[in-house]
């Protein structure tokens, strides 16, 4: 874009510190985004390995490779890592950090040092949680939900693991505060709220949930620690307490957290679709408002995790009703995405391919959610493999695919290089087939009555377990091909233009990779985020 020499990119910029210190002490939102990316993908890798081990154990009835106690720790750690270290912080911490300032035309987030502190707190929390594996009583075996009274009685390192989750919560809260302030204070001239990209809208909704819901989790976890160390008896019926109280407190956070996980993924999809359809998004306002609605109604449905816990019948039907209502905004988004494709000019490139995959898998996740939302059917499938299948379709098929799509979409901008698209297509074939082989049988098993968190099972579930385990191998092969393809782009170094896909949001107006302060000149915004640029320099009139 600029006719003078391009300014030094954030990757080459030499600040006060050299080498690795230049990264882990950098307050540049882009470098922090990359730090999060590296740490998170490493944890994700560990989580996947634990998942694979579980699948091998389940290949045959009885003992295959590990004892019951080890298996119980495997699903606990797998769940904790995937939830607290990957999918909750995931998209906001990596792509939110990197692209929020770029998309609203700012030089950085509002509080760059706080941003770096958030990463350090995140690493501290992760370290504490993972230490619980190696010291004292051994890895926690409570499931990622830490239900009392078992979590109070378990002789394993629950206290340490819970402390880790507690610390991670602070990272989440601080990031939320930072994003909300950034969105309110640092938008470029002319960028009104209705001209903000939809990804920014979802970050905004998510940040509010992070700030308002995470403290509830913090309190709940503190109470578990207090029960374990001081024996207060809040959850102990022998001392006048109530174990169900814990479940309420836990889900008052953890249901909204489900939306922390999925909303930014929906934001990514809302970015990618207009770009590859070369078209303004259909129903911008409907999509933006539905994000806020999801964030709000999401607070009122936590009871649907407790339909069989013994809460009153009245509470059960009210929660069921509200749960069905919260499905509507998600449906609206899907309809608007599909409508955007109508009369577009569609370029089926890898980021778009993974976006279509998101829509398909997330729809299955959402629709199976209706089965768990209806009272009569949930009583049967609650705490079975049906639920395990359902939430992998939502979190992995939804947010996970959105994460992969975001990597593919923004990779050229982040590193200034292109990857080999043919190999990404190949990896996609494995991922798609493997994913459905792995998780679809779980829906069937659940309907057949296979409870979750089961080390061993009766013979009638064997066949479906074999399919799922083979599926996990196919899926991981695909993930490996995907990772290797991206890695190899650092070797082949095919340079990326500043706007390889013809995107219309602000991040595509600066160089790839962007300079330290993002733009040579702060842009002035005169149009909606997905309307074509008024000047012919946009690179999309072909």
């Amino acid at each position: 874009m600029s006719n003078t020499a391009d300014p030094v990119s954030y990757l080459d910029y030499q600040g006060r510190h050299k080498g690795i210190l230049g990264w882990i002490l950098s307050t540049d939102h882009k470098r922090i985004g990359i730090l999060y990316m590296i740490s998170m993908l490493s944890f994700f890798g560990v989580g996947v390995i634990l998942g694979l081990l579980m699948r091998i154990e389940l290949l045959m009835p009885g003992m295959t490779i590990v004892t019951p106690r080890v298996y119980n720790s495997l699903f606990t750690l797998h769940g904790m890592i995937m939830i607290f270290l990957f999918i909750i912080p995931g998209l906001p911490a990596v792509f939110g950090n990197f692209f929020l300032p770029l998309q609203i035309g700012a030089e950085d987030v509002a509080f760059p040092r706080l941003n770096l502190a958030s990463w350090w707190i995140y690493m501290l929390g992760a370290a504490v949680a993972l230490t619980s594996l190696f010291v004292g009583g051994g890895a926690p075996d409570t499931g990622w939900t830490f239900y009392v009274p078992y979590s109070v009685r378990s002789g394993t390192n629950v206290t340490l693991a819970v402390t880790g989750a507690f610390i991670l919560g602070f990272s989440s809260i601080l990031t939320g505060i930072n994003f909300i302030t950034t969105i309110h204070r640092l938008r470029a001239p002319g960028m009104s709220f209705t001209r903000m990209p939809l990804f920014v809208w979802t970050l905004y909704s998510t940040a509010w949930i992070q700030i308002l819901a995470t403290p509830v989790l913090a309190i709940t976890l503190l109470l578990v620690i207090a029960e374990r160390t001081l024996g207060l008896g809040l959850f102990d019926p022998a001392k006048g307490g109530d174990p169900i109280l814990y479940q309420h407190l836990f889900w008052i956070y953890s249901h909204p957290a489900v939306y922390i996980m999925i909303l930014p993924g929906m934001g990514v999809v809302s970015e990618i679709i207009p770009t590859f359809a070369r078209k303004d998004i259909f129903g911008y306002k409907a999509i933006a408002i539905s994000s806020l609605l999801i964030a709000f109604v999401g607070y009122l449905v936590w009871g649907h995790h407790m339909f069989t816990s013994g809460i009153s019948d009245t509470a059960r039907w009210i929660f069921s009703l509200l749960t069905f209502l919260v499905a509507i905004p998600s449906g609206i988004k899907i309809f608007n995405w599909v409508a955007t494709l109508y009369k577009g000019s569609i370029d089926l490139r890898p980021p778009f391919l993974f976006t279509l995959t998101f829509i398909f898998l997330f729809s299955i996740g959402g629709l199976t959610g209706l089965v768990t939302g209806a009272l009569a059917t949930d009583v049967h499938v609650h705490d079975t493999y049906f639920v395990v299948g359902h939430f992998h379709y939502v979190m992995f098929g939804g947010t996970g695919m959105a994460f992969l799509a975001a990597l593919l979409y923004w990779w050229p901008k982040m590193f200034g290089i292109m990857y080999n698209e043919k190999w990404i297509w190949r990896s996609w074939a494995f991922i798609f087939v493997g994913f459905n082989m792995l998780y679809f049988p779980m829906l069937i098993q659940g309907w057949m009555g296979h409870p979750r968190r089961y080390y061993d099972y009766v013979p009638r579930f064997h066949a479906t377990h074999i399919v799922a385990t083979v599926g996990s191998w196919v899926l991981v092969t695909g993930l490996l091909i995907f990772a290797i393809t991206l890695f190899r782009s650092f070797k082949s170094r095919v340079p990326a233009p500043s706007n390889p896909w013809g995107g219309r949001t602000l991040e595509w107006t600066t160089t790839s990779p962007p300079p330290l302060l993002n733009f040579t000149q702060i842009p002035t915004v005169t149009r909606g985020p997905y309307e074509p640029a008024p000047t012919p320099t946009g690179g999309e009139t072909s």
Partner: protein
């Protein structure tokens, strides 16, 4: 799934078919349109996109119609659920006791069993009690489930409509042997149930000869029977085998009597002969001397009287 079913199961299945049916149609529409547009408006076939603007009418339509659909689903789920909660007055009452990691059942006449035997076509109401952590009582074939919470007072009911055995699982994670916390519900004809209900044996009456033998035994229950029922009642058999196999949490009880046992007392290894006193101590104060190679997992049996302990010890002595 083979085996028996319960009346409520049909209503649940109908709800499932309704929701799944609508979901499949919705998924087909979404995916079909998505793929068709991607094909029809690919850059090759449609090089320049046309802006179509937004349409309030469309937004309202695809808000209202899904609202109506999900309200229908809610109602279907709620209706069958109501049935699930309204237990008839005349239901057979059974108390279910869950603990790490087995189920036991107590009937109104005091009969105890480790599987749930019920008569055909007779409503059964289960009162759920936990002795330790949360469990969840689940009979997949009947489509019913409810958590078993310490201090809680949850219940379930069902009316079996065909005979046979079906699995009972624990569906709420409860520790190491959660996946082994299983039992069986057996639906039998009313007459068979009546004989079983009045007898002292856990076995189901199959033949006339059996019934006669039972009737004789019922008059004079043997020590062996009582000891066995105590071993079941206090959950000993979840952790100890009686046949010499060693795949449970505790050592087998077969042949311990008179054996040299290496135990840990205050962290030190000593060797003792398993006599009557040793067995008594092992049962009443399990932590005092831990058998080498095993962990301190055995709970002192709550509520077990001295007579029962003597009976059990007598039984173990004979178990060679």
């Amino acid at each position: 799934m083979n085996g028996p079913s319960a009346t409520i199961g049909d209503a649940v299945d109908d709800t499932m078919i309704l929701i799944t049916g609508i979901s499949v149609v919705l998924l087909a529409i979404i995916t079909g349109l998505m793929l068709y547009f991607t094909y029809r408006y690919s850059r090759k076939r449609h090089p320049v996109a046309e802006e179509v603007g937004t349409s309030i009418l469309l937004e309202v339509t695809w808000t209202i119609i899904p609202v109506l659909i999900v309200m229908g689903m809610f109602w279907a789920g709620y209706k069958s659920f109501r049935e699930m909660r309204d237990a008839p007055e005349d239901a057979l009452q059974v108390t279910v006791i869950g603990r790490m990691w087995d189920w036991s059942f107590e009937y109104a006449n005091g009969k105890k069993s480790d599987r749930l035997v019920v008569p055909l076509d007779q409503p059964v109401r289960l009162q759920l009690k936990s002795l330790d952590v949360n469990h969840s009582f689940y009979i997949p074939a009947f489509r019913i489930k409810e958590d078993v919470v310490p201090g809680g007072n949850t219940y379930l009911w069902f009316k079996p409509q065909s005979t046979g055995p079906a699995d009972i699982f624990c569906a709420e994670y409860c520790g190491e042997r959660h996946s082994y916390m299983m039992s069986e519900v057996v639906v039998v004809p009313q007459e068979q149930f009546d004989v079983w209900y009045q007898s002292d044996s856990a076995e189901l009456p199959e033949t006339k000869a059996w019934i006669d033998a039972e009737a004789a035994a019922a008059q004079a229950p043997s020590d062996t029977d009582e000891a066995l029922s105590a071993l079941h009642k206090y959950g000993c058999v979840t952790c100890h085998s009686l046949d010499g196999t060693g795949n449970k949490l505790g050592p087998t009880l077969k042949g311990v009597f008179g054996k040299e046992v290496t135990v840990m007392v205050d962290g030190k290894e000593i060797s003792v002969t398993a006599d009557e006193a040793y067995l008594k101590q092992s049962i009443t104060q399990p932590a005092a001397a831990l058998v080498k190679g095993f962990e301190n997992l055995m709970p002192p049996p709550a509520g077990m009287g001295p007579d029962e302990i003597d009976l059990v010890i007598g039984y173990i002595k004979e178990l060679k």
